[in-house]
C-alpha cells in the first residue's frame, strides 16, 4: 500500500519535471493546424502549410528557433497574451479589435471571402445570402463577423462552427444553404468534393492577414519577421511558395514537402527549398 502511494506520488511529480524540461529557449509559434493550405497536418501527422513554412524560413534567415504548437484558433490570442505563445501564425485577419490585445506584423496576405454552395442547388451568391437562408461560418473568423454585421440584420440565419470542416459537412448534408470562408480554404474544400460543391461568388472584404505577437512586441520579434519576409520576397522564394501551396492537391503537396523539407531545415536554404517544392508538386 505505502509503496504504491510512493510510486504514484513519484509519477505525479515526474510529470511536472518532464513538462518543465520541455521548455527550450526559442519562440513558440501557435497555429490552429486545420486550415489547409495555410496550415494542416499531413497523413503522417506532420505540420505543414504556407504560414508554417514561411515561419520556418524566417527563422532560418533571422537565426532563431521555433517550436510550432497546435491549438484551437480561439485560444491562440489568449495564449499570446498569457505569454504561452510568442507568435500567432494562423491566417489571422488584422482587425482593430484584435489590435487592442496583440500587435500585428505588416500584412502578408490579402484575402476575400468565398460563398460555397452545393452543385445543383442553383443558388447564386446573391440568392444564397437572401433573408431566411442558413449560412455557416467558423466561429471567430472574419466570415462569421461579416455575416453577423451585414447579413443577420437582413434576416439571414448564421450558424457558427468550431471548425471549418464541420460547416462544410453540414452544407453537404443539406443543413445549410451556404458556407462563407476565406477564398483559399474554400477552394481546398471544393476540391475535395468534385462535382458536389462550388464557389458561387466572392465577397470582397479585402481583409489582410498578419502574424501577431504580444502587445507592444516586448521581445522584439516583429523586426525579425519583417526582415525575413522582405528577404523571402526579394529572393523570389515567397512567390514560389505561394505557387506551390495554392493550387495543387493536398496529397501532392504533402509528398513534395516530405521530400524537400530537409533543404529548409537541414541545409537552411529557403530559396532552394521553395524551388524544389514547386518543382516537385508540378511533377
Amino acid at each position: 500500500m505505502r509503496k504504491a502511494l510512493v510510486l504514484v506520488t513519484a509519477a505525479v511529480l515526474g510529470l511536472g519535471l518532464v513538462a518543465v524540461g520541455q521548455r527550450a529557449p526559442k519562440y513558440v509559434v501557435g497555429s490552429d493546424i486545420n486550415w489547409a493550405p495555410f496550415e494542416w497536418a499531413s497523413a503522417k501527422g506532420q505540420y505543414l502549410g504556407f504560414d508554417l513554412d514561411v515561419m520556418r524560413a524566417i527563422a532560418v534567415l533571422e537565426g532563431f528557433e521555433i517550436e510550432i504548437v497546435d491549438m484551437p484558433f480561439d485560444s491562440i490570442i489568449p495564449a499570446v497574451v498569457a505569454g504561452k505563445v510568442d507568435i500567432g501564425a494562423s491566417g489571422f485577419t488584422i482587425t482593430a479589435e484584435r489590435g487592442e490585445v496583440v500587435t500585428f506584423s505588416q500584412p502578408y496576405w490579402k484575402s476575400d471571402q468565398a460563398v460555397v454552395v452545393r452543385v445543383g442547388s442553383g443558388l447564386t451568391k446573391e440568392k444564397a445570402l437572401e433573408a431566411g437562408r442558413k449560412v455557416g461560418a467558423q466561429r471567430g473568423t472574419t466570415g462569421a463577423l461579416w455575416i453577423e454585421d451585414n447579413l443577420v440584420p437582413q434576416g439571414v440565419v448564421l450558424v457558427e462552427y468550431e471548425t471549418y470542416p464541420e460547416a462544410v459537412l453540414d452544407l453537404l448534408a443539406g443543413r445549410l444553404d451556404a458556407v462563407v470562408q476565406d477564398v483559399d480554404p474554400s477552394k481546398m474544400a471544393v476540391a475535395q468534393y468534385p462535382g458536389k460543391l462550388e464557389i458561387a461568388g466572392l465577397i470582397e472584404t479585402g481583409e489582410e492577414f498578419g502574424f501577431l505577437v504580444a502587445l507592444g512586441d516586448p521581445k522584439g520579434i516583429l523586426p525579425k519577421i519583417h526582415a525575413g519576409i522582405a528577404k523571402l520576397k526579394e529572393s523570389g522564394a515567397w512567390d514560389l511558395l505561394i505557387e506551390a501551396y495554392f493550387g495543387p492537391s493536398l496529397a501532392k503537396i504533402e509528398a513534395a514537402w516530405e521530400k524537400c523539407i530537409s533543404i529548409l531545415l537541414g541545409e537552411k536554404n529557403p530559396l532552394k527549398y521553395a524551388q524544389a517544392l514547386l518543382a516537385e508538386v508540378k511533377k
Partner: protein, 234 residues
C-alpha cells in the same frame, strides 16, 4: 441524413482509414498518458480530501468540503483554461498544456474520487477505529492499516465509474492544445472531409475497447483483493 453521400460509409472509405490508424493510436497514447496522470493525482489528492472531510477538525474539514465543492462545480473546460492560462499569468509558473490538463482534470477527478472515498470511509463501523486505537496504533497508522484498506475495497465499484468518465474527459484536453486522439481525428478530417464518419467511428471503437479493458482490469483487481464480508456493492 445518415449515411448520406457526404458521409460515405463504403468499403472504399473504410480502406482509406487503415493508414491513419497509427496516427490515431499515437493520439490515443496521449489520452492514456493524461488518464494515468490524472487518475493517480486524483487518487492521492482524493484520499487526502476524503480523510480531511471525515477525520479532520471542523475548520480543516470545511476546507476539504470547499475544495470538493469548487472542483465539482466548475466545468472541465473552464478548469483547463484556469490551469493553463491562469497559473502562468497569475503566478508566473510555466505550465505545458499536457501538465495543465493533468492538473485540471486530476484535481477535478480528486473531488469526485474524494466523494467516493468519503462514502466508503463513513460506511466503516466506528468500532474498527476503536479496536485499532485500543491496540496502540496512532491515528495515522490506524487509518493506513485498518480504515483505508477497507475503504478502498469498498470504493472500487464507484471508482470504475469514475475511470470510465475521466477517460472520456481526456478528449477535452484539446481545448488547451494537447494533441490527443480527437485532434488527430480532426487533422484527418481536415485534409480528407469524406472520412469524417469512419474516422470518428474508429475513435469511438477505440474508446469502447479502452473502457472495457480498464473496467476488466479494475474487476481483476477487485477479485484479487476481495475479502469475505467486504464485498463491493455493485
Amino acid at each position: 441524413m445518415f449515411p448520406s453521400p457526404s458521409f460515405p460509409l463504403t468499403a472504399e472509405t473504410w480502406l482509406r482509414v487503415g493508414p491513419y490508424i497509427p496516427v490515431l493510436l499515437r493520439g490515443l497514447g496521449v489520452n492514456i498518458q493524461i488518464l494515468l496522470g490524472l487518475i493517480a493525482l486524483g487518487f492521492v489528492v482524493g484520499i487526502l480530501i476524503a480523510l480531511l472531510e471525515v477525520y479532520a477538525p471542523r475548520p480543516l474539514a470545511f476546507v476539504g468540503s470547499a475544495y470538493a465543492w469548487f472542483f465539482r462545480g466548475v466545468p472541465e473546460i473552464v478548469l483547463l483554461f484556469l490551469f493553463y492560462f491562469g497559473l502562468s499569468r497569475t503566478f508566473n509558473i510555466p505550465v505545458s498544456p499536457f501538465l495543465a490538463a493533468v492538473l485540471a482534470l486530476g484535481l477535478r477527478s480528486s473531488a469526485y474520487q474524494a466523494q467516493i472515498f468519503r462514502g466508503a470511509l463513513l460506511s466503516i463501523p466506528h468500532g474498527q477505529m476503536m479496536a485499532a486505537r485500543a491496540l496502540g496504533l496512532g491515528p495515522v497508522r490506524a487509518i493506513f492499516h485498518v480504515i483505508l484498506p477497507q475503504a478502498l475495497r469498498l470504493s472500487l465499484a464507484g471508482w470504475s465509474n469514475e475511470f470510465s468518465s475521466v477517460l472520456k474527459d481526456t478528449t477535452l484536453a484539446w481545448g488547451i492544445g494537447v494533441v490527443e486522439v480527437m485532434r488527430q481525428a480532426a487533422y484527418i478530417r481536415g485534409r480528407d472531409f469524406p472520412l469524417t464518419l469512419p474516422i470518428y467511428l474508429t475513435v469511438a471503437f477505440m474508446f469502447l475497447v479502452l473502457t472495457y479493458a480498464g473496467n476488466w482490469a479494475i474487476g481483476a483487481v477487485e477479485k484479487r483483493l476481495r475479502v469475505p464480508g467486504l464485498e463491493t456493492r455493485r
